[in-house]
Symmetry: C2
Subunit: 153 residues, 2 copies
């Protein structure tokens, strides 16, 4: 564990803030730029793309609405409003099942997801992968995995 | 610029996906865990905390609603619904001004923001800063700043 000066202080120190702000800004910028490129290329919003690709990749086309909400990190009501709009555009269908709602991708949704993959790959390369020097890649992945595992691992 | 094998392929390669998923998972986990700790300590949601601290830090208590939406990376309508709920809880007030809406923090909102700072500092340390070995900190900040600057810088 690193030992930061000012660890007990009630506000982040200047040096701590530097790390935190760089982290937040990079995360937010990559997320926004990748989303904007996909939208420009395909008309899908960030949320549309997230829903469609999760249905395909995690659920082979079908997920419970609450599983989908959890995997997106979205509040149930936010996802529900979003799915209502996607359903109106013919991309997904919802069905009541015992004690829940199942979300299924339509043929049109599958086509939109498939068509968006190349734009997604290009955007991830442009806005993240190409900016990481190859010699730093392995150590960055290791650090990111440590961070993702969290303090209790 | 790094040179990735399969750079022209239409899907991310396995090694590219490894970096991308590690990045997304770390970003998402830190965001969720910091938010959860603040909520547990103060009752403020991630969004409440974001609104209150931006009003204080960026606007000395007052911001245009569209500036606030932009700085949070939120859609206007999402922020508007959120502010309606915060206004009902007495944390902010909105005023129409020429061609827009101004959002002002209340005294109760200021107290909530101030009370949440120690929980925020502790959460950022626990879920991010303490997981970065001190000797890696400077190079990580540099890499994050390169990524945040983007491909066109």
């Amino acid at each position: 564990m690193a030992n930061y000066a000012g660890h007990m202080s009630k506000r982040l120190t200047g040096r701590e803030q530097e790390v935190w702000h760089a982290w937040k800004r990079a995360a937010e910028m990559v997320r926004m730029r990748v989303g904007a490129d996909i939208t420009a290329a395909t008309g899908l919003s960030d949320g549309d793309f997230g829903v469609l690709t999760r249905l395909v990749d995690l659920g082979e086309g079908t997920l419970r609405q609450n599983e989908l909400a959890e995997s997106m990190g979205w509040h149930r009501s936010r996802l529900s409003h979003h799915l209502t709009r996607m359903e109106a555009r013919g991309m997904v269908k919802r069905h009541s099942v015992d004690a829940g709602v199942q979300v299924r991708i339509t043929a049109a949704g599958e086509r939109a997801a498939a068509a968006s993959r190349p734009a997604h790959a290009a955007a991830v390369r442009r806005h993240l992968l190409d900016l990481i020097p190859s010699e730093d890649r392995a150590s960055l992945v290791q650090l990111l995995e440590t961070i993702a595992s969290g303090p209790d691992s």
